[in-house]
């Protein structure tokens, strides 16, 4: 079931005009921001399908950048997000793609600064609900309905065991887990859905293990 709670249907409270193109876009932006962990210096967003055709009318650009500034869907600063980003010296660029994607409301967000870069692909599936389907080239298959731990780490022995041990110590049960890498010894991604909510303390413990690049929690 893609929609699990009644508040996916009656909600979110949001700034108009579109739940998929404004609220959903803000949530994709905010999720990317959470994974990146800080305000980026450069933002490049590629829009596909209906996003590409109607983003100006729906304020999709405004909402994506608002989300990247960490605004929630109902933040009244939303309409000023592009101006605020410019004032903060953030370089923002939008690209309209003609490429056909599986979902009509798709955005590819590329974030970077002197410390690193991140690429996230999000889809807005309706009513403000979103899914993250790709992270740094790794395909994600998340339900979006459970607390989700995303761990970008160095591809080396013991990484999975380190994370699993910490989860076990905190009595957290894993409902779904996916581990992927692009090339041996380089970057790898663990995506883990859990049955229980996770604490900040637990995330810190994971971050302190060797070879952990970024540890992010979604849907907690």
């Amino acid at each position: 079931m893609k929609y699990r709670t009644v508040f996916d249907i009656i909600g979110p409270v949001m700034i108009g005009p579109s739940s998929s193109h404004t609220a959903g876009a803000a949530r994709i932006g905010r999720t990317a921001r959470t994974i990146f962990g800080r305000i980026p210096k450069q933002i490049m967003i590629t829009l596909y399908g209906s996003f590409a055709k109607t983003y100006r009318g729906h304020g999709t650009d405004i909402a994506l950048v608002g989300g990247l500034l960490d605004f929630d869907t109902y933040d009244e600063r939303m309409p000023q997000s592009l101006k605020m980003a410019a004032e903060a010296g953030i370089h923002v660029r939008f690209v309209e793609s003609e490429e056909r994607t599986e979902h009509p409301n798709t955005a590819r967000i590329h974030l970077s600064d002197e410390r690193g870069k991140l690429e996230v692909v999000g889809i807005s599936i309706g009513g403000g609900k979103v899914e993250i389907v790709e992270l740094n080239g790794f395909e994600l298959k998340l339900s979006g309905n459970a607390p989700t731990l995303l761990v970008l780490h160095k591809d080396q022995f013991g990484a999975v065991a380190d994370v699993a041990t910490i989860l076990a110590k905190h009595q957290i049960n894993i409902g779904y887990m996916q581990v992927a890498r692009k090339e041996k010894g380089l970057e790898a991604l663990m995506s883990i859905e859990t049955d229980q909510s996770l604490s900040e303390e637990l995330l810190q413990e994971i971050r302190q293990k060797s070879g952990m690049y970024a540890v992010t929690l979604l849907n907690n």
């Binding site: 249907i9 009656i10 005009p17 609220a23 009513g127």
Partner: protein, 296 residues
């Protein structure tokens, strides 16, 4: 036991002698592991946002930045208060005026609740507030009405779709209209199966409705479709309360909506490439609105 379809929802309600709203509340408590008070309060806050949006849209003249929408809610309200004879009736027109008000606030980038989407955000506030007023029901009855509509929306969203880009306007305004019809039936004292009939009757009258927003803005024809969605919801509820039954079962109407959406060309699914958006006037308005920003 959790429900996955409208038939299962009605079965649980009737077997256990519960209202649809109560089945939804119990499922939410179980699935999300939250208390009744917490859930009720959150829905209450949503109701408050809806009430504020109605008030704002009816009292101030909400103009959108494009100039395509705004002012109609006040216009309808004034006509309703002064015309000697109302063709569709006071109750329907009140729902229509309130739905228009919320939809105009949305177009002006005001604060609303997506029900199930922002493009269809006027229909539930308009119908639920009007029904509560006519039946002199309290705040809790309106909150219960929102849970009924949530239960129906939950079935539609999980078995079909609720976004215009996926299924056209029938998936947005159509879903909201069906959700509102069910809510109003329960608020008026109807049974769970009458609420389900109202869903089928309302949704079948929205089948095939395309999403063709002028200039890609959630304004025209969206605001007027919210107005008419509210009217259809009220009439569909009356039909169901009168004992009219849908020939095709509710869940099959929902799956027909989904299939129609899949067969709809991309140009009619929120791309502003077809329908009203592609008319000479629609195109001219688009050029006028984006004249200064298109090349930026």
């Amino acid at each position: 036991m959790n429900f996955r379809s409208v038939a299962e929802l009605v079965e649980i309600a009737e077997m256990e002698g519960l209202k649809i709203s109560e089945v939804m509340v119990r499922q939410e408590m179980e699935v999300m592991n939250r208390s009744r008070e917490e859930i009720w309060q959150e829905m209450g806050r949503n109701l408050d946002v809806m009430g504020q949006a109605i008030e704002k849209g009816l009292s101030q003249e909400e103009r959108s930045s494009s100039g395509l929408s705004g002012g109609d809610a006040k216009r309808i309200q004034k006509y309703k208060e002064t015309a000697p004879i109302l063709l569709s009736g006071e109750t329907v027109l009140e729902a229509v005026a309130s739905a228009t008000a919320v939809s105009e606030v949305n177009a002006a980038m005001g604060i609303i609740v997506a029900t199930p989407t922002a493009g269809a955000c006027g229909i539930l506030p308009g119908t639920i507030h009007t029904t509560a007023k006519k039946f002199q029901l309290d705040r809790d009855a309106m909150i219960a009405g929102l849970f009924v509509s949530g239960a129906i929306g939950y079935c539609i969203a999980n078995n079909a779709c609720i976004s215009g880009a996926t299924g056209g306007c029938q998936a947005e305004v159509g879903s909201a209209t069906a959700m509102a019809a069910a809510a109003v039936v329960e608020m008026a004292g109807g049974t769970p199966s009458q609420a389900a009939e109202a869903v089928a009757i309302a949704l079948k009258n929205m089948l095939g409705l395309v999403c063709d927003p002028i200039a890609g803005l959630v304004e025209a024809p969206c605001v007027k479709r919210n107005a008419m969605g509210a009217a259809i919801a009220m009439v569909a509820a009356d039909l169901a309360l009168a004992g009219v039954k849908s020939i095709i079962p509710t869940d099959e109407v929902i799956s027909a909506m989904y299939k129609i959406g899949q067969e709809m060309p991309v140009s009619l699914r929120e791309t502003a490439l077809g329908g009203l958006a592609a008319t000479p006037t629609g195109r001219a308005l688009e050029r006028q609105i984006f004249h200064n920003t298109k090349e930026s």
